[in-house]
């Protein structure tokens, strides 16, 4: 197959008109979700699914949903000390999959980066500091490099949950007078 230029990728909302029947990744559950549940979940305002297309082919998809991170400590009381909240706002990358015929082209990386940029954009409209996801075991190292943290208590799960705090990066960007500020 010819090289795919990431510049040529398009991102589209999942619509009824999209034919997702031929999408095939290595995880049956991710195939099932796209083919059977994603549109219904979207129609019910539970999640939004974005397709990654090249020409007319669906190379991958991701699903976003609002989430929270709840902190439970025995000695913690709401409104005390410097932690006024027991829960913190997040957006979860609930699903992220690449068609197995297009693995090795950087599509997964593209989708993660696109999702992160999207959550950052959303954080300017609605308060949101964290990104959460449930990682495949083999992807944990990559997410950690990006800044995600794995939850020790759940690290033996099939899909260990991870979170990423955007705030220190945003603070640094403000200090650097990034064009985005």
């Amino acid at each position: 197959m010819n090289q795919i230029s990431l510049d040529d990728l398009q991102v589209e909302y999942l619509r009824k008109s999209h034919d997702v029947s031929s999408f095939l990744c290595t995880d049956d559950d991710l195939n099932d979700f796209l083919k059977s549940d994603a549109k219904k979940s979207q129609d019910e305002l539970i999640s939004i699914t974005y397709l990654c297309l090249w020409q007319t082919k669906i190379l991958g998809y991701l699903t976003l949903v609002t989430d929270t991170i709840e902190v439970k400590l025995i000695e913690m009381t709401d409104g005390v000390d410097s932690f006024p909240y027991a829960r913190y706002p997040a957006v979860k990358i609930a699903r992220l999959a690449v068609d197995e015929r297009f693995e090795g082209f950087g599509i997964g990386r593209f989708l993660l980066f696109w999702a992160t940029g999207k959550v950052y954009q959303l954080s300017k409209e609605v308060g949101c500091r964290y990104i959460t996801l449930d990682s495949k075991r083999e992807s944990i190292g990559f997410y950690e490099k990006f800044g995600f943290k794995v939850i020790e208590r759940y690290k033996n799960r099939a899909f260990p949950p991870m979170y990423f705090n955007m705030y220190p990066i945003v603070v640094q960007m403000r200090q650097d007078n990034s064009n985005d500020y």
Binding site: D32, K72, F113, D134, I151, R153
Partner: protein, 50 residues
């Protein structure tokens, strides 16, 4: 039907302590993390949803 989306990440014990420590004293991101985040913003801007 696929497994349902799990919502609500709960942190307890050491995970909760680490989270709160990160709130109090956030670590400065590495140059690599800054570069990746900037690239993420660029990718999203250059690929608007249609």
């Amino acid at each position: 039907m696929a497994r349902p989306i799990e919502l609500g990440l709960i942190l307890e014990g050491e995970d909760a302590e680490e989270f709160l420590e990160d709130l109090k004293n956030p670590k400065k991101p590495t140059e690599e993390q800054m570069a990746m985040f900037r690239e993420a913003i660029r990718i999203c801007k250059e690929h608007p949803v249609s």
